[in-house]
Each structure stands twice: as C-alpha cells, then as structure tokens.
C-alpha cells in the first residue's frame, strides 16, 4: 500500500513542517519535501492550504490487484520535491522494485505513454512494484498536473519537481539530454537497473514493451 506509506511521510512532513514553519520561507503554496542538500534533510512546509492527513491505519502486509487503492491526486497530495526530497521518498521503498516515470503536462509523448505506466502499476503492484510519477512541470502548471493525474486514475504516488521544467531540474534528476519521456527502474536495493531515455539522434526510441520487459525481469530476481 504505497499510498499509505506516502501518507505517513506526508503526515510526518506536515507535522514537522508546521512545528518549524515559523522559521521557514517558501514561495510555493504546495507541500514541499526536502529542500537543501541531501544530507541536511531539512523539511519545509509553508502551505496555506495544506491538508494534514488524519491518522492512518497500518497497511496490510500483502495486497492484491483487486485491492489496489487509487492514490490521492488532490493538489495537497502531490508534494513538490527537489532531488533530496525525491531520494527520501525513494528510500522508503527499499525492498521493492521501483519504476520512476518522469513526465510533464507539456510533453505530448509522456501523456501518451502514461496509461502504460498506470497499467504496469495495476498489473504488478502485488508482486512488489512501486511506481513514482515525477512531473517536470513549473508551478503555474500544478493544477494541470493534478487534473491530468485525476483523469488517469493513477494507482501510485506522484511528486512534482520543485525546479519544474528548468535545466537545473533536469540536471538534478539526471535526465539524459534534458528530454522527456524518461523512465528509470530501480532494483529492490535501490540501485538503478536501467534508464529509459530519448536519444534525439537515434532512429528508434524505447518502447512501452521495453519498459514492461525490464520491469518483469526485475521483479523475477
């Protein structure tokens, strides 16, 4: 139950953030996790409309495809993260195969590929696949991100890059060629197995099947 796990993180962030909000400054109205260096683990929250999730029950140890719960895609549930914030979220999923889908509302190819990522989640969640969506969108596109994810009925958690679609954002997330779509697969120990990236000079690009096969192979290990 990825959603419940992330909700815990959100709860922790929200509580710490509210406690420490007197000393924090943020231009964003959205939840923000982990700004600063990866080691600092500083946590900021200056949201005016932040909804603090209520107490959550313990997630069941196992899940089935039928019991997959759609992730909350309200604005408050899409944390805005920098690289260190992302790394914290990723670390929470150790023991699972993680597929990260870097996408953006402005990327037509990403939006076309996104339903395949959703299908992978539904198909393999029970086998230990976690998917994290990272929207490489600017602040002014946040509402559009929320709308798109709601339409897609995503069964996994989503983040948005704090630096949006800037060059800095692509560099920090190590997206080759600063080009989307890009997906990255991590093994159960958190090591990168493969990055699926666009090679603008190549005639052929990675396909949905390439991603699906790599996911299956990683789950079988």
């Amino acid at each position: 139950m990825v959603f419940l796990k992330l909700s815990k993180i959100l709860l922790l962030v929200a509580v710490i953030g509210l406690l420490g909000s007197l000393g924090c400054n943020s231009e964003s109205n959205n939840t923000m996790i982990g700004s600063g260096s990866p080691k600092s683990k500083s946590i900021e929250s200056e949201s005016n409309d932040l909804e603090i999730p209520g107490p959550q029950t313990e997630p069941p140890l196992t899940t089935t495809v039928e019991s997959v719960v759609l992730a909350d895609v309200t604005s408050a549930a899409i944390p805005v993260v920098d690289r260190s914030g992302f790394d914290l979220v990723l670390a929470k999923h150790k023991g699972q195969v993680v597929l990260v889908d870097y996408w953006a509302t402005w990327c037509a190819a990403c939006r076309k590929k996104f339903p395949h990522t959703v299908a992978l989640a539904k198909q393999h969640q029970a086998e230990g696949l976690t998917i994290i969506g990272v929207a490489m969108d600017d602040d002014d596109a946040h509402d559009e991100v929320v709308k798109f994810l709601a339409e897609q009925q995503v069964p996994f958690d989503n983040l948005r890059s704090k630096a949006g679609a800037s060059d800095e954002s692509f560099e920090s997330f190590e997206i080759p060629g600063a080009t989307l779509p890009c997906l990255r697969l991590f093994d159960r120990d958190g090591n990168v197995i493969k990055t699926f990236a666009i090679d603008v000079d190549a005639d052929k690009q990675f396909t949905d099947d390439d991603v699906a096969e790599a996911v299956k192979a990683a789950l079988a290990k």
Partner: protein, 206 residues
C-alpha cells in the same frame, strides 16, 4: 496484343518512374524537417488573428529584408525559457529590416487567444503573436516542436530552420544559430548552418 500490353506496361513504368522522380525533387525534405527543405519557397500565411486583434499575412511584410517566424505555444516551458532571448532578438534586429513573429497552432485550453493575450502582455512581447486553429501553416512548414524557428530570406525562401541556439540555459549557450543565420543573410551570405534539429515541446496535431 502481347506487344501492345508490353508497350502499355513499359509506358506505365515510365510514367510512374517520372512521377516518383518529380515528386522527390519537389518535395525533398531536409535532414530534420520531413516536409520542407532549405531554399524552398516559404509557405504563405494569410489573415491569421493576432493578440492585437488584427489579421496578419506574410504579404504584409514585403518591405522587410528577412522574416523570422517561430512556432510557439503558451504551455511549453521551453518556449518560456526562450522568451527573453526572442524579445532581445527583436530589439536587436528590427532596425536592420528583420521582421519577427510567433505563431501558435496549439489547441490546448491554455493556448487560446485570451490566454495568449495574457502571456503577450505579461512577458512583454514586442512582436506579433498569431494563432492558427487550423494548424495548416505549421504543417506546411513541417514544424514539429515549439519553439521551431524558420528564417525566410528576401525572396521568401527558407534560409534557416531548427533551434534558436544550443542550450536551454542561456548562460551555457555557445552556438547562436538563429542570430548567426540572420547575420549571414544580412551580410549577403548563406548561413554556415542552415538546419539544426528542432527541440522543445512536440506539436500535437489533431
């Protein structure tokens, strides 16, 4: 009968072969542009509505030495990153007889004329920002991304097409393709680099 059939077959092959040769010579595409090649006559736009509520046509710009047209959109962050560079380009080249304009063919809600007007005012556009809901003009240019830029020479042939420069982050730019092409044309030369691979957000054709 057999002889006649052979003659008919032979003539058919000849006609088909000639048609193929003709079509490849007239529709020859460039390295990155699948529709248009350098040196070809620029497709003409007529009566496209701008954020100034006026209609704009290529034929209005007869007095200009060069015309630079960029396919743009509100929603694309790559276009946004280039806005300041484009505004400066217009400031630097307007007095040299270079006309610049942007055309959007996006059908997204964020790219409609009222939103384009907001962007043009907010970003301080010093050039016409036009909309073509039919998307025909972008198709005719073989535009695939925003921003995709085309430089038209005095005879209104395509003289440069592709990207504006070589980096999204202006501080890291080393090759200013658009400025170099325009400088060369103003000096009566052909651009050293006439085509580059366009980058940005894919244009969604309906």
């Amino acid at each position: 009968m057999t002889r006649i059939r052979r003659w008919v077959e032979c003539a058919t092959y000849f006609v088909v072969g000639a048609a193929v040769l003709l079509s490849t010579s007239t529709l020859r595409a460039a390295k990155f542009n699948k529709v248009l090649d350098i040196g070809k006559p620029a497709p003409v736009w007529s009566d496209l509505l701008g954020v100034d509520d006026k209609r704009h046509s290529l034929s209005d710009l007869k007095a200009s030495k060069l015309v630079v047209v960029v396919f743009a959109s509100n929603h694309c962050p790559v276009v946004k990153s280039y806005e300041r560079r484009l505004i400066r380009f217009v400031d630097d080249y307007r007095d040299k007889g270079v006309e610049f304009l942007a055309i959007s063919v996006s059908q997204r809600a964020t790219d409609q004329l009222p939103q384009m007007k907001v962007r043009a005012v907010g970003s301080g556009f010093n050039f016409p920002y036009l909309i073509d809901p039919s998307q025909k003009i972008a198709k005719a240019y073989g535009a695939t991304h925003t921003p995709h830029v085309f430089v038209l020479d005095q005879q209104r042939r395509v003289a440069y097409m592709g990207k504006i420069d070589d980096h999204l982050d202006e501080s890291k730019v080393t090759e200013r393709f658009l400025r170099d092409a325009v400088d060369a044309l103003l000096a009566g030369k052909s651009p050293d680099v006439a085509e580059t691979r366009q980058v940005g957000c894919e244009i969604e054709y309906e």
